[in-house]
Symmetry: none
Subunit: 196 residues, 4 copies
């Protein structure tokens, strides 16, 4: 078996795992179900992953890394710090559907998944916060943004973004998507306070 084939099979198993884990959650998901979903025998899973936990972690990490890379690419493709924030919203909306499984899983009981994985997840979030912080910082420097606290702003922005994207996923109405982006940008850039 060529390395390429091996990777393909591994990918396939990871996809099946994503489907079942997101449907059933980590604890209710059965290894045998994942195997069936992938059209292979139970034992085959263990040829590629050492344990259910390892399979889960590899799946989460892989998907999340991929997601982050896509987001960063999109954001890097535009100039202007406010445009970048807009792109961040847009890209999150764009990819969210593909990764809705992941979203459900990431919010799964992290304490039960293992310390290492939990720490990795926290670091991943910190890295995304840093990424947003940098955009805000640069925006402040060239006077695109006011002198807000970059860290708090980044955290608030990420939280708001997640919350809003969750709503879109829930409503499943593609029509609203560009509208929502505009509204969220409006709120964040302009603030909700009335000015005279």
């Amino acid at each position: 078996m060529f390395d390429a084939e091996k990777q393909d099979k591994k990918s396939m198993l990871l996809n099946a795992a994503a489907a079942v884990f997101s449907r059933d959650g980590y604890y209710k998901a059965k290894v045998e179900d994942i195997a069936k979903h992938a059209g292979v025998g139970k034992g085959t899973i263990y040829e590629y992953f050492t344990s259910k936990k390892a399979l889960f972690q590899e799946m989460v990490r892989g998907s999340l890394e991929e997601y982050e890379i896509l987001i960063r690419q999109e954001v890097d493709s535009v100039k202007g710090w406010d445009k970048k924030l807009g792109k961040l919203i847009e890209a999150n909306i764009k990819f969210a559907a593909n990764y809705r499984d992941l979203a459900k899983i990431v919010s799964s009981d992290p304490g039960s998944i293992g310390e290492a994985s939990k720490k990795w997840l926290i670091n991943e979030r910190i890295s995304m916060i840093k990424f947003i912080e940098d955009i805000i910082l640069c925006g402040i420097e060239d006077s695109t943004f006011r002198e807000v606290d970059p860290n708090i702003t980044a955290i608030a922005f990420l939280g708001a973004l997640g919350s809003v994207v969750g709503k879109l996923l829930f409503d499943d109405d593609p029509f609203q998507q560009s509208e929502v982006k505009q509204k969220l940008m409006d709120i964040f850039i302009g603030g909700i306070g009335k000015r005279y």
Copy 2:
């Protein structure tokens, strides 16, 4: 046994459940541990709750309702729509520590806890969003706020608030708390965009 005594014991069991569930997560938590924590026998749990799941759900609902009531009380105690938003942040920070266990649990894999509970959780969130929406709506009406989309704003606000409160819980630095409230208000009210 009088009804009052019965309620007391039930309360006690719910408290023990909260402690153990939040420490171990739903799946890792053992009914026997909860019983020990409460200083009763394993069988006693089943005199007051029909199952582990029922115990869990009753605990989550009770705590969350309590939390919401506290928050609403605090918010209702001030006048001015912007002040209310400020109070909302403040109250969330204030109570978050007591309910940090709850936060961990609510973010636990909801799909695995039962459909009914999941729906209830979603409704609870919707009700909180409505509450915030109303504040914003009223603020728009009396020109405290600009004409932003109340729904999106409420969702974004709640997401940002949760994210920031999570950070405070994580950092565990009580010193920052009032400062954070100011900064978050500043961002939301004033926006991050530079005005000339």
Copy 3:
């Protein structure tokens, strides 16, 4: 449940374990079979023993200790070093039937049972060898025996005894038993060499 009852139940489980382990060997024996044999549910085993291995070890150790104590008591009940050796043979024959299960098990693949248990088994044997060695040593001192090497003699005696008792167990002919004792004593005391 009183401690006495608990001990009774534990004993019962150990007996069931002895029966099944000796019939099937450590690896082929199934915990569920042991439970059925004892007339209890599978889970009950785990209320009294932490694992299959622990159950096995406790059973072997308990039985072997008991066996050794019985043997030593019998041997101590007679005077005269040669009489003691005779009694040792007699007692081994006498108790062997009750512990034939144990015999089968003790000869089971010790390496697979765990290091701790293996060492304990070796020490148990060493202690029995010492016991025989002492008898021989005392016999030499008071001129009951010739000046043979006590250690080698003890080891040889124990080996011969085990081998012969095994044969008796196999043949299952109670008639031969006292005869065999006499013959074995004759061989050991008198030697097989012709004297003129």
Copy 4:
């Protein structure tokens, strides 16, 4: 492939099997490990043996037969019935080290290996007992030995021999070996009883 080559490969596999089985015991030994040890693929084992059990049995039988043949050759090479017994001890000590693996395995839980193999093992032992019995019988006839029971004596001798050789293997002190032979002969020929 010529028959000779086939036999060579089979031999090689049997050697690898002996190494792994004796290191890990029958149950813990993995077919794949044996294959790796032999430098072949897992499937190749099944070209030469029908199952793990068959491989095991063939290995045990082959080794044991070889061992017996060597022992008998050595014993046949000397004259005098007492000398033959001495040679028997000597030869057992001499070959024991090479077959220490085998010793460990033969003492493995025979009940778990299959009825056929168990019977064969018992027969093998009986045949060795017969061999010793004959020596003793002949020795009695020409007045080398006293009129002891040949069967009991043979069984006791074999047991004692095994026990003592086991000790030598354990101590691993080649220096004692000839000494031990002398002592064992002394005990058996002269007996341990003091004569006046």
